[in-house]
Symmetry: C2
Subunit: 284 residues, 2 copies
Amino acid sequence: MSSLPHLTQAAAELTQEVEVIDEHGARRTLQIPAERALTVYVDKRELVTLMTLGAAPELLVLGYLRNQRLTSEPGQIRSITVDWEVGAAAVHTRGGLPDYEARTAQRVVTTGCGQGTVFGSLMNELDSIELPPADEARISQRALLALLEAMRQQESTYKSAGSVHGCALFRVGADSAELLSFVEDVGRHNAIDTIAGWMWMNGVSARDTAFYTTGRLTSEMVIKSAQMGVPIVVSRSGITQMGYQLAQRLGLALFGRAVNRHFIAYTGFDRFDAQPELASASTG
Amino acid sequence: MSSLPHLTQAAAELTQEVEVIDEHGARRTLQIPAERALTVYVDKRELVTLMTLGAAPELLVLGYLRNQRLTSEPGQIRSITVDWEVGAAAVHTRGGLPDYEARTAQRVVTTGCGQGTVFGSLMNELDSIELPPADEARISQRALLALLEAMRQQESTYKSAGSVHGCALFRVGADSAELLSFVEDVGRHNAIDTIAGWMWMNGVSARDTAFYTTGRLTSEMVIKSAQMGVPIVVSRSGITQMGYQLAQRLGLALFGRAVNRHFIAYTGFDRFDAQPELASASTG
């Protein structure tokens, strides 16, 4: 594997204390999540401005470049330098990125939204996405409940300040789920992009992994997950129609409304080993 | 006022029935919200593709053009024709839109996200936004509770299928809140854009109005609300730091975590008449 990019470690303050008034007329202080504009420059040319919590900006930028398919492997990036003083992430490549002009120009004509751009251009490449077969990449109800229990115990900015989306990557075993990486951001897209960057920097294969997200199972979530090779996605929230249709087409297993011991399997039933007897301990 | 645009009425099916498996291993059917790609063409030139529930696509497109500031008044639009067969919204203008080239070109250099584009370009025009003074546009706790009760009773796709954001416009009186318009969409930005289109088509002034949204109080929500002249925003969810900072700069009153009789006033305390005695009936 080629050498990895050099990343700064410009983690920023994740919360801010503000004074509020509640329904009892009492003035008190609350923590709210931080939110920063981070403008990404690729070889000194402005690419995009991301609104982020700022927990792992370098991994976010790397994962954004990966999920936008502006980079096909981390070795193409020499360094990512984040400077919060100017709200900038400077990406230096090793001799440029292939098809950079075409891929960034496409944004103009296809759609006004970066996520939409991902969607629009990825739709043309869906058939090139191949996930591991259902008999090799699956999840049991016991492992799913272990995953949900791990998320329940996870300390988070959400618990202290709310208003952020969390995303986690798990290694799934026959009866277990090991938390590999957890990240939060003001946008669910940023959270999954950051994990995409983390996977590259740590050489983690997607085989036997599952995503957890607090966000809805939307088309972008399904596409990004499939693109990263993760065939199982679990969400605390529900699903949208395009997320459902794309997951069926791509063969992803989607679980929604997943909290405590409850969940709904929307798609990919062939990847799921139901153990209904485990639901009897349901806490309602 | 110049003549209003002609709009088709291409409302689409809002939900789809899917078969799922729950934690008890039981197969049953659920409703999930529809989601459609709607590509907007302005005078036959592609502008953007919006992912929408499809409840009021013509008002969505009109409000999108308004909130992107591609149109300064509805009379500039001759007609908006939505055809779900081809997933297209054809916008015909009365002799073009001023600064159309510049405003749409800007998207390329500023950011990859349409919402970000709004943010990026609007930041330069924030100082031109003027909201009614606090002594003229305010809300009492009684009116706020009336607004929340109206939303609690509102029938919705969210109640039947989940996974959509709702947005409502209220006329606020001394002790009352009258629901003027309610819309849901898969994206909270679409929902507020649709209401912006509705306000134009119905000649509704923003004076004495308040927004309700199920989405977070983000920078885009604050900016769009201020741009439309609505000085009060109430959310079931929380707030982000940029939403907080922009609301303070623009003088908006933001209420979050607002459900039943509970709420938190984040900003614009000078627009709020607290009546803490009303909280005693709190249902916890």
